[in-house]
Symmetry: C2
Subunit: 152 residues, 2 copies
DNA sequence: CATGAAACTCGATGGCA
DNA sequence: TGCCATCGAGTTTCATG
């Protein structure tokens, strides 16, 4: 992967709706070359797909929540059960197995505190094997995720 | 916003590269109606833009890191200075002002621990007014963020 | 006035030099 | 690899309920 591919990846993460001709202009490539590069990136699996970036606030999801979770047991079975449950709940947007004090970090979005309370009761409280749960609310988003910076 | 719009938003977050005809099929809409709905969603600001979803692992970014930060001072000036610095560093992918024990939550991606060490020295350690920094590594991604679930 | 169909236009795609 | 022709999809317009 050379300079042009990296620049292309950055551009596609920032705005994939631009035409190939436009993208080619940014990277100093011919449109056909640009087209081939993008195909190659897709085939290599670097580009998983394309998606619309949606504003959660406009969706009515004003509250972003991070939940740190500790399990009762760190046995393989307990973790598998927990992870399967996490994947089943649509309200859990993202989940990481973590190093450090907690076992898992969850990310959730809610309309307001009532809605979060509902999600807590209907989804978080039903996760199996949880011994402790620490909830942190995002008061303000300082910097929005806008794609990975492509390392040179 | 009615049922069709919500279904459309979910579909666009999952895969915006589908043709309008395909999307219209999912939502039981005529292609022209579907096109108009999407335009409306864009104009209302619900859709911020379109982007390629990139696989960080394939990019060589194997390590995802969450960094909790506490400032020396919670004065308006200290926070403003910190937030401006955060926005300047491309290696900081995301930043939230948080409730709870820490002040800020940062998200960073690195190729390996050496790379993270470099980012730490060149970027995180240069953030102004930091009194404590707690780093947590994601050992495994259980669930990837794939768009907000659209509340009905 | 909102909706659907059809024509048009532009850009993506594939073959060729 | 770059160019050109083809094709398909997005866009606009118009006709209809």
């Amino acid at each position: 992967m050379d300079r042009a591919d990296r620049a292309l990846l950055e551009a596609l993460q920032a705005d994939s709706s631009r035409s190939i001709a436009e993208l080619a202009g940014c990277v100093n490539l011919s449109p056909s070359a640009c087209h081939r590069r993008i195909k190659a990136l897709e085939e290599q699996g670097l580009i998983l797909g394309y998606a619309a970036r949606v504003d959660p606030r406009r969706l009515g999801l004003a509250v972003e929540v991070f939940v740190e979770i500790t399990l009762n047991s760190q046995s393989r079975e307990a973790m598998d059960r927990f992870e399967r449950a996490v994947c089943d709940f649509d309200d859990i947007l993202e989940c990481h197995l973590m190093s450090g004090t907690s076992d898992y970090l969850l990310r959730v979005a809610a309309a307001d505190l009532d809605h979060y309370d509902r999600i807590h009761r209907d989804c978080l409280a039903r996760l199996p094997g949880v011994s402790a749960m620490k909830t942190s609310f995002s008061l303000r988003r300082i910097k929005r995720f806008a794609g990975y910076s492509v390392p040179s």
